[in-house]
Structures are given as C-alpha cells and as structure tokens.
C-alpha cells in the first residue's frame, strides 16, 4: 500500500504552532522577575571594592614599624575631615578619562569608637567627613554601599580635646571608619 503523504505541511504547521505556544507560555511565566543591571548588584560590587581599596591605600603607613599611624589615622586623630574628603575623592575619581556623568560617586564617612570611661563599653559615633552636597543627590540617587576599615590611632589626645572624655578615651585605640558610597 502506498503511503498517503498529503498534508505534511499542515502537520508541520500544527507542531510548530504548538511549540510557539509553549515557548510563549514559558516566556510569559518566566517574566515575573525582570533583572536590570541595577538590580543585579554588579556595580555595587565594583563600588564596594573600589571603596575598600581606597581606604586600604589611605591606611597604609609610610613607616612600617609596628603600630605606627597611617595617613588615615592622622586624619582621624586631627579630626581633619576636609583632608579626608580631598584624598578619598581623589582615589575614587582616579579614572581613565570618563566624563562627569559617569564619575559621580558621593560618600558620607562616620567614625565609631569604643568609650570605656564611666566603666562601661559604649559605642560613640560622629560624622567625620562627607562629599560636597550635590543638588542632584537631593532628588535621586542609587542605593548606598557600606564599606568599613579599622584604623589604629596611636594618639587620641586631639580627639579628646574635640569631643571630651565622655565621647573619646584618651588612649591609643582602634576605631571603625564606615563610609557609605553611592552614585547620584
């Protein structure tokens, strides 16, 4: 018996239509979650690493003998927020010639220190430095990234005169510098 090969195209068309409907349904049910580069934390990771690297460079002492003060430690000891702003901004904006539009990082730096006077262990904090307030940043900005660095202060005398014994121990100590970085 000779096989009847009529209607092959109809068969293929039917199968194809079925596949297309399946793919369409698959696509629709998978599109509940749409990832955009902003959601994907890729730029967050890069900003975080950039910030850690910048702080590490600033926290590298010129004199490598034990417990010596780094440039960053000297800035904190002398409460030199504007010096930190200049230097940190310089590291953040070291680039290959991008425009101001791309190069738009802002930051806010806070110092946390342990206070033992009065017998307890309490955490004191104060705003150390921040980038120049931008009008754009008041309207919109991307989420901030937190980076931290422990800084060894070999002499906190100056800070005690600024903040008082209730806020700062008059002693060599370790403080935590936390910097929030965001893109405006």
């Amino acid at each position: 018996m000779v096989m009847n090969d009529e209607g092959q195209l109809y068969t293929i068309e039917g199968i194809t239509a079925g596949v297309i409907m399946l793919v369409t349904a698959f696509t629709i049910f998978n599109s509940g979650l749409v990832y955009t580069p902003g959601d994907a934390h890729i730029s967050d990771m890069q900003i975080q690493q950039l910030g850690y690297d910048a702080l590490q460079m600033m926290d590298t002492p010129e004199d490598m003998s034990p417990m010596s003060a780094s440039p960053l430690a000297l800035m904190i000891q002398n409460n030199d927020g504007s010096g930190f702003k200049t230097k940190f901004n310089e590291y953040l904006t070291l680039h290959t010639g991008t425009t101001e539009l791309v190069n738009s990082l802002e930051f806010n730096a806070t110092v946390y220190n342990r206070v033992t006077s009065g017998g307890g262990d309490t955490v004191n904090s104060y705003v150390f430095s921040h980038s120049t307030d931008s009008a754009v940043s008041q309207l919109t900005r991307e989420p901030a990234i937190s980076i931290t660095r422990y800084v060894w202060l070999s002499d906190a005398n100056d800070l005690k005169s600024h903040f008082g014994a209730a806020k700062y121990d008059n002693d060599e100590q370790l403080v935590l510098l936390e910097v929030l970085i965001w893109r405006r």
């Binding site: 990771m45 490598m64 003998s65 935590l176």
Partner: protein, 150 residues
C-alpha cells in the same frame, strides 16, 4: 478536498526553525544578568575585606603582640591587647554584625606555650595567632604563624 500545493515546504520549515532558534538565543541571553547577579552577590556576601583588614592589623602589630620579643610578662603589652581586642569585638559586632576575635600565646607562668616554648626552627620562632570571624553567613577561622627571628 482541493489538492494541497506543497511547493516550498523546505523554505517554510527553515523559516520556522530560524524563528525557534532566535527564541532559544533570546532565552540564553536573558540569563546573562542572572549570572552577573549571583557572582556579584557572592563577592559582596563574603567578607573578604573585613577579614583581610583584621588580619593585616594583627600582623602589623609585630613585636607589640604579647609573647613576641618577650621572656617575661609585660603589663604594657597586655593592656594594649585588651584595648585592641575589646575594640575589635565591640565595633565589629555593632557595625558589621560579626563576631570577631583573636587569640595569641600570652606570656605568663602556667601557660603551656610559655613554659614549653612555641613552634620554631633554627632561624625563627613562630607565634600562633588564632583569628575567628563569624557574621552568621561566613564562619572563618585561621591559625596564623607569625615568625620571629631567633
């Protein structure tokens, strides 16, 4: 039934195949942000920089750590260590949500390392520093051997 005109079946079928191929490529392409996301989140989640920071601070203390360059108990070094350890423990807990602490062979009578000596070879004596870090997701423990020249 009218006779079916079956000319050009191959052309039509190849058209369908190309269309399906484009669908598949689009789905593969749509996975690219997901790959970047999981990688980036893993990098962010692991506290590499915090651990390196604490580790670096301990190594940079050098001979101000108790037990190094010392044959007798040294009150100044103990005071320094209490300050350092207290600061790391409290600040990491309050700001980084992490338990961070370290241990080092102290110099006092009755301590095993003091009485029997620590690790060493003919050139160096090695002082063991145990570093502990736990932020609830990452638990990290390291035994660091800090060499001191004999």
């Amino acid at each position: 039934m009218e006779a079916l005109n079956d000319d050009g079946q191959w052309i039509v079928m190849m058209g369908f195949l190309v269309a399906i191929g484009m669908f598949v490529l689009a789905i593969i392409y749509s996975q690219a942000p997901l790959v970047g996301q999981t990688t980036a989140e893993s990098v962010i989640e692991f506290p590499k920089n915090e651990i390196q920071d604490i580790r670096g601070k301990l190594v940079s203390m050098g001979n101000t750590l108790p037990g190094i360059s010392q044959t007798t108990p040294n009150g100044a070094q103990e005071t320094l260590q209490n300050r350092f350890r207290g600061d790391i423990a409290l600040l990491s807990m309050s700001r980084n949500n992490a338990i961070a602490n370290y241990g080092i062979d102290p110099v006092h009578n009755g301590n095993y390392w003091y009485d029997n000596g620590t690790y060493g070879d003919i050139f160096y004596t090695y002082h063991q520093i145990d570093i502990h870090y736990n932020n609830g997701i990452t638990e990290y423990t390291e035994a660091l051997l800090l060499p001191e020249r004999n």
